[in-house]
Amino acid sequence: MPSSASELPRLSPFRLLFLRAFARPLAQLLTGADVHGREHLPLRGPAILAANHNSHLDTFLLLSIFPARAVTRVRPVAAADYFLASPARSWFSRRLIGITPIDRRAKPGTDVLAPAMAALARGDILIVFPEGTRGEADELGSLKTGVAKLAAAFPEAPVTPVWIQGAGRVLPKGARMPVPMNCCVCVGPAVRWTGDRTRFMGELKDGLAALQASAPPLRWA
């Protein structure tokens, strides 16, 4: 592996240019990038965005809805085994997208959340996909509890539920050809860590389910 999955990667000085001149126009062309509940979007860290995950487009879409002054602080958590797999993909993921790697195949005893914790400690805005992988389009899979560990370590960080509607149609898992269709990013009120993991995960799941119910019908019949 060309880069360690246990440290926070450095960002390219051209990252902002790449995000604004390429990633954002591409996301807008393919999805329209509508935002519902923009007032709930955290603009300063430490903060955590917890979103559903259906498509590689999700990360592009979420990076495109932040204003320029905030997006320099936004770091998506992504699987090291996939995104650091080849030198080119690794460079692109670490330096331009600005991922925070998480090692899904780590040996027991290693702290896979260390890079994410380091990012929060720096005051970054972390994007996590608590389903852990891209699931069935527009269905919420079971949530992994890593997000609760992050929230417990940084109880001052708001955890904002985000429902992405429609990205699973534009570029579903396994598809190579994107098809432009409107998507909606629904941002909900933040959930706070209050010391109880079950309760926290329940509130997060309820928040995501409420956003899913309120989302416009951008789905297959």
Partner: protein, 314 residues
């Protein structure tokens, strides 16, 4: 200085005055919106009007290539909104991609000045190709409904809207204020009809005209808007169009009706889908399709009236 700029851009004097009147209306609306208590929604709506008016005026001044590009973009956005909200099946995904090809195809025909092919491109050839592709995709459940979605989306969002840039190809000598004057008149009448129906409905509305489809629309708004827009058409048609007196009366009777019909038809679709706006692309207005709904009906009608009665070119 005004005249020097006008001559450089070949603006007929009357069109110049039309643009001045639109600018005055925008300033008046903005002053009202930015008074204390104007409301963020109204301000966003006015700001968006400025952007849309600026884009249209620029395209009017630059001629048909600019107008073709602008409306090709608008058609793509409207089509994307339509196909994203309408009930399509998972198997239709690549046919959606195919449907976007109507945008370069139809606007390409505008650029190549192929009028007869333009007329039949969507209503004949897209209409027979798409159901075949849906059959190849292999899902027969909901087949007819899916075919209708594609056909209607391409017809309203692409083919009907593309009449606007094609009208820009009219030789300037055929209309009193040139091709730009013809298009300006269509856009002005269509938008004023929307605004006047809304204002008349707000002021006098009592009896609902389509309670199950569009509960805010009233007979008073519809008739008031129709009458005022018809008066506007009768007053301005001699200035901007080559219509004779009787042709002007036909346009005055039909265009406001077509605008209303486009608006209500799109409302029925939105109500069916349970959405208020087709997207949030234009702050204060909703989606591109929300803004273009009346034009999808008025543009082809106006074009065909001109082609049948008044223009040598078509």
């Amino acid at each position: 200085m005004f005249e020097a700029a006008r001559d450089a851009l070949h603006i007929p004097p009357v069109l110049g005055w039309g643009l001045v009147v639109v600018a005055v209306a925008l300033v008046a609306g903005s002053v009202a919106a930015w008074r204390p208590g104007g409301g963020a929604e109204l301000r966003a709506r006015m700001a968006s009007w400025w952007v849309m008016a600026a884009l249209l005026v620029l395209a009017l001044l630059l001629g048909w290539p600019a107008m073709t590009l602008l409306f090709a973009g608008a058609s793509f956005l409207a089509l994307r909104e339509f196909l994203s909200l309408a009930p399509l099946r998972r198997e239709d995904r690549l046919v959606v991609l195919f449907a976007y090809l109507t945008v370069p195809f139809v606007y390409g025909l505008v650029a190549l000045d192929r009028y007869t092919v333009f007329l039949i491109a969507v209503p004949v050839y897209f209409f027979i190709t798409t159901p075949f592709l849906l059959a190849v995709a292999g899902q027969t459940r909901g087949f007819l409904a899916a075919a209708a979605v594609f056909q209607w989306a391409a017809l309203t969002c692409v083919s009907n809207i593309a009449y606007v840039p094609f009208l820009m190809r009219t030789p300037d000598a055929e209309a009193p204020a040139g091709a730009a004057g013809l298009v300006f008149f269509l856009l002005l009448v269509t938008e004023m009809n929307d605004v006047l129906q809304y204002v008349c409905g707000k002021l006098f509305g009592r009896h609902k005209i389509a309670p199950t489809v569009s509960p805010n629309k009233t007979w008073e708004g519809f008739l008031g808007g129709w009458g005022l827009t018809a008066a506007l058409i009768v007053g301005l048609a001699p200035v901007f169009t080559p219509f004779s007196r009787i042709e002007t009366l036909i346009a005055a009777a039909l265009l406001p009706l077509a605008g209303f019909a486009g608006d209500v038809t799109m409302s029925a679709i939105k109500r069916d889908l349970g959405v208020k706006d087709t997207s949030r692309l234009i702050p204060g207005h909703g989606g591109v399709l929300d803004r273009l709904d009346s034009l999808t009906f008025t543009a082809p009608l106006y074009f065909h009236l001109l082609a049948a009665y008044a223009l040598e070119r078509f």
